[in-house]
Amino acid sequence: MQYNGGSIVAMVGKNCVAIASDLRLGNQALTIATDFEKVFPITDRIYLGMAGLATDVLTLRERFRFRVNMYSIKEEREIEPKTLAQLVSSTLYERRFGPYFIEPIIAGLTDSSKGSQPFIASADLIGCLNFAKDFVVVGTAEDKLLGVAEGLWEPDLEPEDLFETISQTLLNAVDRDAFSGWGAVVHVITPDKVITRTLKGRMD
């Protein structure tokens, strides 16, 4: 899990969710790339982040795209966040004894017919789900993220305030982690749009 480094955090706000990752790709202590995003759109209102072994991040991005497409074709509708969480969980548990070395985070809003409710979840590398009501973190700066998020987060943040909270949480946590950092990307998902911003960070 420390081979490539990287960290992700997701938070719930008032009728919105935010998910953010750092941009570092390393080979142990050597930084290979500073533009490696770990969060991917699944639908217009659901994002999936994966921290851990970079090759598995890429493999699973393709695998989840395939499985979500198959779901959409068979069901003739978009996938719901909690369904995606179960899909992710079962995909990971399929490899129970030879796992993909990633920890996923799902952030999204439920369908508008169900009130566009915020949803976040995380899982471990074999797919044990964690449905949190406030925030979830994964990656090499996990403990730092937990500490800062626990101090900064509060319920019912508006999109812009949630953006500030998640950005500050991520930046300050990765600045104390040698394996994460080199900038960040933040997505704030609201019922009518997704705000995506790339942040500059310390380069050390």
Partner: protein, 256 residues
């Protein structure tokens, strides 16, 4: 008729090693203000998954203007505090005054380094008031490397608390409004609140932190108690209001 074979288990010489150290969890934290210093620690003492006691102080008054927090191996910590106190008493007898804070910091360095090859397994944070009346925090590693800082967290929840402090004390990753600048020192009330929040947060997410928190607050000579008045149950440890004043503030933390 029956016969059985006896398998002789091979006798290897076994080596046993006595491990003189253990880790007793907990977290300590100190923040320096312009004319005050706050040093805090939780009171849980644990070994592995067992709680040994819910009240084992990690923060100790050395003089009226110096407080030492010790974290790591509790037995070493207690012994170390005892020895520092003894050295400070000898100093008092020899010079008829308390040792200045920066001298205590240097004393701690030499005492720690004296044990370079069998160290006290302890992270120390020293807080207090310098001779010039400013609040100060000194942090040490187990073998005596030290540095004066504005704030420092140590112990099992250091990784949770320190980045939060970077943000809230040093204003890291925050840009001041154009034409203004970030304050270099925060007001006492604000600092005490941040310390309590830090411990509540650490308690929430770290199993070795909890039960209670003790905050020692040292005010510089002549400074009023403004900023402390809004807190309940603040107990003064100094007998009179001349000179530096030392207060302790205790708060319950979650016990799960």
């Amino acid at each position: 008729m029956s016969h059985y074979t006896r398998t002789q288990s091979q006798q290897h010489p076994t080596q046993r090693q006595f491990n003189p150290y253990t880790e007793n969890g907990g977290t300590i934290l100190a923040i320096a203000g312009a004319d005050f210093s706050v040093i805090a620690g939780d009171t849980r003492q644990s070994e592995g998954y067992s709680i040994q006691t819910r009240y084992a102080p990690k923060v100790f008054k050395l003089t009226d203007k110096a407080v030492l927090a010790v974290n790591g191996f509790a037995a070493d910590g207690n012994m170390f505090v005892k020895k520092v106190k003894q050295r400070l008493e000898w100093y008092r007898h020899a010079h008829s005054k308390d040792m200045p804070l920066r001298s205590i910091a240097r004393l701690i360095q030499t005492m720690l380094y004296a044990q370079r090859f069998f160290p006290y397994y302890v992270y120390n944070i020293l807080g207090g008031i310098e001779e010039d009346g400013t609040g100060a925090v000194y942090s040490f590693d187990p073998v005596g490397s030290y540095e004066r800082e504005a704030c420092r967290a140590a112990g099992s929840a250091q990784s949770l608390v320190q980045p939060f402090l970077d943000n809230q004390i040093y204003f890291k990753n925050q840009t001041p409004v154009l034409g203004t600048s970030h304050p270099t020192h925060l007001p006492l009330r604000h600092v005490v609140q941040l310390v309590i929040d830090s411990f509540t947060s650490a308690t929430e997410r770290h199993i070795e932190v909890g039960d209670g928190v003790e905050l020692y607050i040292i005010l510089a000579r002549g400074r009023g108690t403004q900023g402390l008045d809004s807190f309940k149950d603040v107990q003064e440890l100094t007998p009179h209001a001349e000179g530096e004043r030392l207060f302790v503030l205790r708060r319950e933390l979650k016990k799960d």
